[in-house]
Symmetry: C2
Subunit: 200 residues, 2 copies
């Protein structure tokens, strides 16, 4: 039984190749993808309906490490939300360059929708009306995606040249050499955000 | 006096071409940039020191519409911060695909540093210590960059299929056909964030 010289084309292989292209170049086109996989563009369409479906497959990967509680989570709403957002950030931080691609397409993948269902149920129970639930979820999304990008930032995200004023220089000095700078700032931001939403 | 067939190469033309490439493909390489400008890669280096400098030139463009108050701004700190963050978001929303590229490089451009100086001065005056000033600025950055991505999101950022639960469906319904959905959510989020930081 001979093994084929290249693995068979599959949805998984297409998704993995698209992810590598996004990671290396910031995006992907169907012809680039076909070239990378050494297949004709038309063979891609035997496995996926098109670029939109690949984007949703990439979203599923980005979401794959998001841990969700039961659909009817117990405990204070701020704890439930905090846990979801922590794992949402961790999961997306693996693929920072994917983020603007995902936000440019409507969310249409099961695991993502399940996460938003949990957030919406939790917020409604906490007393948010429907409109504020959408606004609060949007705030959480913006914060988490920005924070996922911050994980990929350099260890010192700002140069400290002579234009840096004394107040900003003092602030920057507190982050220098701090291995958990991004995690620490995320926890501070998460607490502020939940306090602000609680005090509405 | 004949006009040269193509405009002379300049830092401005290089930056504009890099921005177009990022907008179209998500990134740029020096060879791609040279090809787009129909010059040899080595002629790029007569105008810029390399890729890092181009990234900072792109950051200056993304920041170009950020309006800053005087270095010693008057008024409640929450108002000063809110105005800066509004124009920061508007300015970056023009170039969503640039965002992960900028966050991957240390900030080293004058206008950006001036903005962070204003934020740091304002937060220190409001009583934040140096460490919390860095954390609060990081929170603002994460929120604004995420919100700038949300401006580029589709009119309806979520599909409403059968997996969408009743609570999330109710929330989504409040955003449907609302032209200012992203702006409205940004103002809600900004208010929550400032409330949360005030209540620290």
């Amino acid at each position: 039984m001979g093994r084929p010289p290249t693995p068979l084309l599959s949805t998984d292989r297409i998704t993995a190749a698209a992810m590598q292209l996004v990671d290396a170049t910031g995006g992907f086109t169907m012809p680039e993808l076909a070239r990378t996989l050494q297949v004709s563009p038309s063979s891609l369409y035997n496995h996926v309906t098109g670029r939109d479906q690949i984007v949703e497959l990439l979203r599923e990967r980005a979401m794959s490490e998001v841990e969700l509680p039961d659909e009817q989570p117990e405990g204070p709403w701020t704890d439930v939300v905090a846990e979801v957002l922590r794992s949402y950030r961790r999961s997306y931080a693996r693929y920072p360059r994917l983020i603007p691609l995902l936000t440019a397409y409507p969310v249409n993948s099961s695991h993502a929708i399940r996460m938003y269902n949990v957030l919406a149920v939790t917020l409604r129970r906490a007393g948010f009306d429907a409109a504020d639930t959408l606004r609060a979820i949007t705030l959480m999304d913006c914060f988490v995606l920005g924070a996922a990008l911050d994980v990929a930032a350099p260890d010192e995200p700002w140069h400290s040249g002579e234009e840096v004023g004394p107040e900003f220089a003092d602030a920057l000095a507190t982050g220098v050499g701090k291995a958990d700078r991004a995690d620490d700032a995320f926890e501070y931001g998460l607490a502020a955000l939940l306090r602000g939403l609680s005090a509405d």
